[in-house]
């Protein structure tokens, strides 16, 4: 009994000594999850990014009302950018079965009756429903873009460094649901997680400009986003010129509307360097220089 108690005390002593040595090391270890106050990060570690990707894809699937390619399907013909609002309008009949292709066999053909197999977008009425159901409630579809928001929120929770989550969510909140305040708040949240990110700054600037009509604030933020773009993207071998084009276009439009033509021409001149439609930009520059309207309606969201 005595030997038993002695060994127990000895073991307790060893455990305590080890814990006093190991605990400080663990706290200072770079990989320690305890260094964050984020519960999700503590629980999931870096695997949360995988979930974030999944939830972002889920939002895209919701945008297509469940019609979405799996990892086994060919993604060609399925525009993954659709959720960002940049997808071109498509013809329903033409798009039917785009990534699904023609049924391979009877099982494939039969099973297509049991899952969404037509390319439609949330908020739009399905052409098939339209044809088959004369009582189809079109009003019910309006504002259904809201359904993609929980997944974007979750994606941002899982991976706060995923920039497009903020920009996409704010786009839908602002353009389709008229929630400018919520859109701004979400972008600010993104900015806190990713200080100085040029894409988020561009989104914020656009909201100030087109949403709140706060021109001076919009100008400041958009100009800051351009500065940040130069810092973040300028040194890259393949910089995101599309974003730069969007920032410059927005700035040029803002200055043009404020009759600040020299600044507008300055932005258009820079935009011409990165834009594929140089002709139409030149027409805008000429218009601003001569006050003559351009032949084509160019750019601008």
């Amino acid at each position: 009994m005595r030997a038993y108690l002695l060994s127990l005390s000895l073991l307790t002593l060893v455990a305590f000594s080890l814990s006093t040595t190991l605990e400080p090391w663990f706290q200072s270890w770079a990989g320690s999850r305890t260094q964050t106050d984020n519960v999700i990060q503590v629980a999931l570690g870096d695997s949360r990014r995988m979930f974030a990707r999944h939830f972002y894809a889920k939002a895209d699937a919701y945008f297509h009302k469940g019609y979405y390619p799996s990892v086994y399907d060919s993604k060609e013909g399925f525009d993954e950018k659709a959720i960002t609002g940049n997808e071109k309008p498509h013809d329903d009949e033409k798009c039917e079965g785009d990534f699904l292709g023609k049924p391979h066999d009877w099982i494939d053909a039969f099973s297509r009756n049991f899952f969404p197999s037509r390319h439609v977008h949330v908020g739009e009425c399905d052409a098939h429903d339209h044809k088959h159901d004369p009582d189809h409630d079109h009003a019910a579809e309006a504002g259904m873009e809201r359904e993609i928001l929980p997944w974007l929120r979750l994606s941002a929770e899982m991976d706060p460094q995923r920039i497009e989550t903020y920009t996409v969510a704010s786009f839908w909140l602002w353009t389709k649901l008229g929630k400018i305040d919520e859109a701004e708040q979400f972008l600010r949240e993104g900015l806190r997680a990713n200080p100085g990110d040029c894409e988020i700054l561009f989104g914020l600037g656009s909201i100030y400009y087109e949403g709140w009509k706060d021109i001076s604030r919009a100008r400041n933020v958009l100009e800051l986003s351009m500065v940040r773009w130069r810092e973040q993207e300028g040194r890259k071998t393949e910089p995101n010129t599309l974003l730069l084009g969007q920032i410059l276009n927005q700035l040029a439009k803002l200055e043009r509307e404020q009759n600040n033509y020299p600044r507008a021409i300055e932005h258009y001149t820079l935009l011409k360097q990165v834009s594929p439609s140089k002709q139409s930009i030149q027409e805008w520059i000429d218009y601003l220089k001569t006050n003559q309207p351009p032949s084509k309606v160019p750019l601008v969201r």
Binding site: L149, P150, W151, K179
Partner: protein, 283 residues
Amino acid sequence: MNPTTHTIETARLPELPAREERAGTLNNVLAIAGVVIKEMYRRKDFYVLFVLTALVTLLMGSVTFFNQDNIVRYLKELCLFLIWAASLVITITTAARQIPAEREQRTLFPLLAKPVTRNQLVLGKFLGCWLASGISLLLFYVFFGAVAGAKEHQWPIVNYFQAAVLHWFMLGIVCAMTLLGSVVLAAPSSTNTIVLVVTVGILLIGRHLNKVALKLEEPVQSIVYGLYFVLPHLEIFDVRDLIVHNWSAIRWDIWAAGLAYAVTYSAIFLSLACLAFRRKAIN
């Protein structure tokens, strides 16, 4: 002192007409099924899973995203996912333990010592498990309908009915498959694991096996392609996306064909289970 029994005649029972025998089969199958149902509602598994589903759904339902309180599809998806998971767990664990528990607790002996055939026992167990899963499914779907309806202010009863019945018939296939597993495999735990893995596997990649096969080398390609045609396509019965995204109801003839598909596969697995159980020594 050896006995001589050859001089002793045997007393004969009167022979039963065929109709009586059929009625006897139905009677026995129903009696055995009744015991399985009683077992389900007296165990805690179902209640635990139901409460868990309800709690998680209600908790998630109380979350508001971007001050938009009429977002509902994520909640429908979550609730349906929990219902699917719970129903699979209930069905597989209930079916997997039936015959092994009868053997282990030796209740099989007094039961088969009565005028009950082994086929009737398997059929009774199947019917009991299937009905029990149907009862639990009904409760789950009523809860789902209430949650979705309260948030969405619409009750597409036809769509919910189609989805619930397809789900129930799919559980019939799973139940028959589990019974076959429980007759062939030794321990209920291995039956549980194997059937759960196979079922989830089919649900996830069953529809894509043909595409997977094309990327493989022969002879694996032919084997996987063969599996695509042989395995029951359980994913057909998973119409959650149609329900979540408010697609219109499935055509009734297609829906009925889906049910017939489930009945066929359940019958195949049940026949195999009966055959395996008939050959099994139970002493």
